[in-house]
Amino acid sequence: MALLQIAEPGMSAAPHQHKLAVGIDLGTTNSLVATVRSGMSNVLLDEYGHALLPSVVRYLPDGKVEVGHKAQAQQSLDPQNTIVSAKRLMGRGISDIMDIAHLPYRFVDAPGMAQITTRAGVKSPVEISAEILKVLKIRAERALGGELTGAVITVPAYFDDAQRQATKDAARLAGLTVLRLLNEPTAAAVAYGLDNAAEGVYVIYDLGGGTFDVSILRLSKGVFEVLATNGDSALGGDDFDRRIFCWVLEQAKAPPLNAEDTRFLLTRAREAKEWLTDHMEAQITYVLTSDEARGEVINLTLSSGQFNALTQPLVSKTLSAVRRALRDANLTVEEIKGVVMVGGATRMPHVHLAVAEFFGQDPLTNLDPDKVVALGAAIQANILAGNRGQDDLLLLDVIPLSLGLETMGGLVEKIIPRNSTLPVARAQDFTTFKDGQTAMSIHVLQGERDLVSACRSLARFELRGIPPMAAGAARIRVTFQIDADGLLSVSAREQASGVESHIVVKPSYGLSEDAIINMLQTSYASAEEDKKARMLREAAVDAERLIEAIANALSKDGETLLDVQERLAIEQEMKQLKTTIQGNDARAIQTATEALNKATEAFAARRMDVTIHQALTGKNLKTLEI
């Protein structure tokens, strides 16, 4: 019989309708899967009771694929077919991979992303990650007793669009529906319930096996905004092991080691490090096996004081990254409301102490630092799958750049300002510029600048079939809508006739974090310039509209209502204005526009008289009064 979980009041699902959703921490070194059962977030274990799945994939000679501990154990024996840390390669071309010379793989440069030749053929990092996700998916389905509705997968906050897209592709390949990608630091904050906590700025200090990331998040109205990230992609718990390893070699004056000794001694070093978390000293004993030193015994005692001194430079390195992040976010230590510790390496007492001292407050550590990201992702997945009430719906994302559309004169009208929380919908009314205009081109733009040329063009579409009307009479409502995944749809509708047209765009696609930051900075730097440009364009648009109207009027009534002299005067002013428009002086255009307006006052008055006269002709007073 099926096993039941406790639901929130009124949220019991119908049989076979349970929404099974999981959170997945797809890590560089280890991956985890978690879910919420009976209101509690839990990491799911495999049949041996392991929570962590090493992010290692090995392609076997018989065509099978091994993932996790088994693959990890064979890593040094079969390095070319055992892929570790595929996450570092996600969405990266060969030229982007910094330490490619140190990796044992046979790389193939493919468009967009580097690929690796294995005995199972050429594999992309997306396919390799998909193998890890498949194992986690099977684990989850066995633990939950049914098919998954979807998963929330975490990614580093600094991941750009290509890396995020690659992660999504890997999930699709593994047969998982991605409910949302969630930033790792945000997931950690959610696990600690900070989304329900007091508003303020939080720091997430994430020291994993091979990477260090620090993120500064601002929580306001239940929304986390990433203010800054920093870190070191080649600094993690493994480096602490290596320091111990080097110390052992130095102390034991050992001869060059063979591969096996190196591997075992590194394991001893890691064990010593872990032992020192709860003890004052650790014993390191090993019998060498190499030809030069067979039978030589290494027997050393490492005190926690010595260990701290050995690894202090590494800890200082993380704190410099924290300092840089604070500087980028323009914040001081005093402004930080809380610090969250993530990653197994944060268990080391001297790391904890250094962070506590730096921030002048005790960091949050009561959740398992290895699991905290997965636990937060599971909480988010549970909400997105609809297993909790609507009021609990978290709004965690904001749009990074404003969205708007092009108006006359190459100007951008912003419809959705940056930092709006998702999902969001905004509408604005526009009108036609010319008499009898039956179509309108809608140009969707992203950016903070006032000029179209300085923003990024996202899409263009046309609204056709507008009934012919006088300029300014049509009412066209343009609606921008962004769903929770950041998908933008824009629709335009002429209110009187109901003609409609729409388009769907991915707003941030192809824009890296750097590009976004760059666009923001230029917008601040060029605010004054933009203002001038806007004035100039607006003046030119006004002037053109006037010239257009007068030209129309002249061709209609110019012959009948004006004498040659008057007509010449008006044409003279029009010519003057047309020349001024070509220039760069907004003031001059405005003056010339006024001059033309003045020159045509008499003409306009006469046209008005004629119109009124025509309207009154043939009508008696009685009908007029009605």
């Binding site: 929130e8 209101g39 684990r139 066995r142």
Partner: protein
């Protein structure tokens, strides 16, 4: 008329309630749906209704509405592990037939 919890179930419910931070007990119920006619519901309780019946077992408050109680009388709620899966199980003496998965039943 009574509904009971095993010690294991009671321990779990207490733990989940403590983790949730609010709630006065556990609501058991049945609703008419599913492939065999009736289905169990299991929910946290934030407020009770006047017609609700309540029981106390191993320190956990169990709440049932009178309509559901007719189908659930004598039920024992257990918490078990089956392979990697774990969850609550209804041992209901009134059940005559279950659908294959056991999520719904007839009396």
């Amino acid at each position: 008329m009574a509904i009971t919890l095993t010690q294991a179930a009671a321990d779990r419910v207490e733990k989940f309630l403590a983790n949730r931070g609010k709630g006065i007990g556990l609501r058991l119920g049945v609703k008419t749906t599913g492939c065999s006619g009736m289905a169990y519901t299991l929910e946290f309780v934030d407020e009770t209704l006047p017609e609700d019946q309540s029981f106390e077992c191993h320190g956990v408050k169990v709440i049932v509405d009178p309509r559901s109680l007719a189908y659930l009388d004598g039920t024992e709620l257990d918490f078990t592990k089956e392979g990697l899966n774990e969850g609550f199980k209804f041992n209901n003496p009134n059940v005559k037939d279950e659908c294959g998965c056991g999520e719904s039943f007839t009396v």
